[in-house]
Symmetry: C2
Subunit: 456 residues, 2 copies
């Protein structure tokens, strides 16, 4: 590892400047859902990029612009890309904020603002890393690409348009995705992927309307139909029994299993916080983590039939709906799973149950053993004093696949937030020390990745 | 059969008088749920009973009074009782009425009023029968007892108190219950009983609140638990598989099966009205009717879990509730079935599912072969020109058991309403011809039951 003490000292010495820059950014609202302050934010970023010697392109879309820039480095053979977004969630409910969501007030070592962590803290940590690197060492050690979008919080409707239109701008050797968290007083998270998602409704209608329940003797009850269909789809041990469901699931590699050992999952605390007696099948340790991160799910997200109020109403529902979300892992595909569900129901005699697709996202994983992933992992200890938690996959879902799969991007998530950052919630905040460390981390990644060599 | 032509002619000749009396009664609101007009109604009934030579007792309760009267007849060895209620449902929603709910307007041979059928038409048809009989033949052929309550529409909270306090006043040979309908241009219904009802909630809670659905991989989903529990409670042929559920069900007798042949159930019309593809197990004819009237049910009346709105929300419910109503047949008892459900769930490993009883009513059936029942059936053709539909049991439930079981009352339902009477709904009405026929029917039952002999 390179010795970056001089750089780190510089960052510490200029911490106040970086913090004030983040305040300035946070005080400018940029709410995509409300079309508020977008242009002002774009101007502010543009101006800030000039200060690192870059004149970014403002690429217009039919929504908010994408800001794109390139900055050449000493090692012209290696390129690192930073993906971030400059839009934020709405601040509502306003009455739950303890200070102005766009006031960027600092209290007890934290800055409170909508966007402080998600995603302005992350965006600026990387930009400030460039500033610091340039100040201390001059020219950057490798080429940089910046992709800043302004519609992440409304589902990135124009990101794949950009990817298709400018395939060369996506080409890179290391792709630093936004997001990534950290345990309070604990390790940084580094994450290489997400689960996919298939969201469907199972609908059954047996009568034109709800009926007096005396008719239950002779009329098929749609809730019973759904119950009986669902009962064929999962067994008592939480194993999904949709025919063919696991066929395309890849077993984790030894390396992926080893990554689980880096996780500091606080089982007792989690059970207490969620109010659980225990986890499914009384799992604990590595088998619990394997199920959480590497196995697909078939969740009942909602079941709605008949009378939902208090007390008794003697009706037979005319229709019933089950909402299911199925979290997918490589190489399950939403459209294939949808087909399996339909075929399964038909095969088990439930042709009267309609399967309605609501949304789908394929799972995505960077190669956790790629050079960039391994480099990011190595950079954490020098900055944070301890090794990271390495998540081969999040247990959740984002739309990484569309952007990263076709362009063959091995996206790695690491950021400036922590588990108490309240992103998307009132009193979003960033710990100032985390923000400064994120600047050092981004600089370290630049330096190390410029020189990194594939192991033989 | 006795020849009652003179009586029928008298009733026809005085039809206008009886209709005006019903109008007078209907114009006096008597809404127990709103405590409206109760005393005025009691006074009106009292006055009307004086005209048949009876001075009724007004038996006060902590709610509305019960009006009780006896009227001795020629055959002092045989007594017939009339149970009716003088309270009515609220008239709301008022905007859906085509005429004043308490205006008793007559249009196209029908009188429109709240209470016209339920239950003032029935009450007065019997009182007018007494008037007519007295006018034509003098003294009544048998002893009469009148029990008029004023809280039927709010669940008869003081009826069993009355029964316990005055057991002698319940003693009778024939008990004419209120209710009973008729097909339009079709046969009168005579009914001897009702199904029971056990209403329960199955509740399962696995987490303190709804969770992000990525946790579905490791946290038990309460909706899945209920699905899996329910799947053990009924098979694909609608056979209830709660252990012991059918143990106390009495197979219908030959007579009870023969009664099904009197029913004119319009299968095609019912399917069309309810919007059904077909009935359960593609049943038709007598097997369909046997299931509807003689078999118990286990209905899912409601299933509530997780997200119930439109579109997608990726949550794992923290709790889920199923509402079930189980319609019971002799000799199933709600408290025994409740116990069976609990034991069944325990035996199948669902000790985490709570069973909450909401309400229970035992089934009740008069002996369909008793003298009074057979007499009522015989009286229908001379009045209506066709034999009745004989329902050994309704497919629905009322609280007959509490009142009739202990007092050993073989209650028989027959009334003045029809399938289009809109009881409990806007535009309640009674067909005037049905009302006049109900007067003749009540008189015929008095005459025939006075002389009826058990067959040997």
């Amino acid at each position: 590892m390179a010795d970056l003490k001089e750089l780190y000292d510089y960052v510490d010495a200029h911490a106040q400047e970086y913090i004030e820059l983040l305040q300035k950014f946070c005080r400018q609202p940029s709410i995509s859902a409300q079309n508020l302050g977008i242009r002002e934010m774009v101007d502010m970023i543009q101006e800030e990029m000039h200060s690192i010697g870059v004149n970014p392109e403002i690429i217009e879309t039919s929504g908010n612009p994408i800001i794109y820039a390139e900055l050449p480095g000493k090692n012209s053979e290696r390129t690192l890309s930073f993906y971030n977004h400059y839009d934020v969630q709405p601040a509502e409910p306003l009455e739950e904020w303890k200070s102005d969501p766009f006031g960027a007030e600092i209290r007890d070592g934290k800055m409170y603002a909508r966007g402080a962590t998600d995603n302005k803290g992350s965006l600026l940590s990387r930009l400030c890393a460039v500033k610091a690197y340039q100040a201390v060492y001059g020219k950057l050690p490798l080429n940089l690409k910046f992709i800043y979008e302004g519609e992440e919080e409304i589902g990135s409707p124009h990101l794949s348009e950009f990817a298709q239109k400018y395939p060369d701008r996506l080409k890179t050797d290391g792709f630093a995705w936004e997001g990534g968290s950290k345990q309070l007083n604990g390790p940084l998270e580094v994450c290489f992927g997400v689960k996919g998602l298939l969201y469907i409704e199972l609908r059954c209608k047996t009568a034109a309307s709800d009926l007096h329940s005396c008719n239950a003797a002779i009329v098929k009850n749609p809730a019973w139909r759904l119950v009986q269909a669902l009962a064929t789809m999962k067994d008592a041990n939480d194993h999904v029994t949709i025919d063919g469901f696991y066929d395309s699931v890849k077993e984790p590699t030894q390396y992926e299993m080893d990554c689980l050992k880096t996780l500091q999952f606080r089982e007792e605390e989690t059970k207490e916080r969620m109010g659980l007696d225990g986890f499914i099948n009384d799992l604990t340790g590595i088998p619990l983590l394997k199920k959480l991160y590497y196995e697909p799910t078939a969740n009942i997200a909602g079941f709605k039939a008949g009378y939902l109020g208090d007390g008794a109403k003697t009706i037979m529902p005319g229709q019933a709906v089950v909402k299911m979300d199925l979290r997918l892992v490589p190489d399950q595909k939403p459209e294939e799973i949808l087909k399996l569900v339909r075929e399964h129901l038909d095969r088990h005699g439930f042709t009267d149950i309609e399967v309605v697709p609501i949304s789908g996202e394929p799972p995505f994983r960077a190669d956790p053993e790629c050079l960039f992933a391994k480099t990011v992992i190595k950079c954490v200890k020098p900055v944070y004093g301890m090794d990271p938690e390495v998540f081969v996959s999040s247990s959740g879902t984002t739309a990484m696949y569309q952007f990263c799969h076709e362009a063959n991007l091995d996206a790695v998530m690491f950021g400036a937030g922590n588990e108490g950052s309240n992103i998307h919630a009132p009193n979003e905040n960033i710990i100032l020390e985390d923000y400064i460390n994120a600047i050092k981390m981004a600089a370290t990644v630049m330096e190390e990745f410029a020189l990194a060599q594939e192991e033989k």
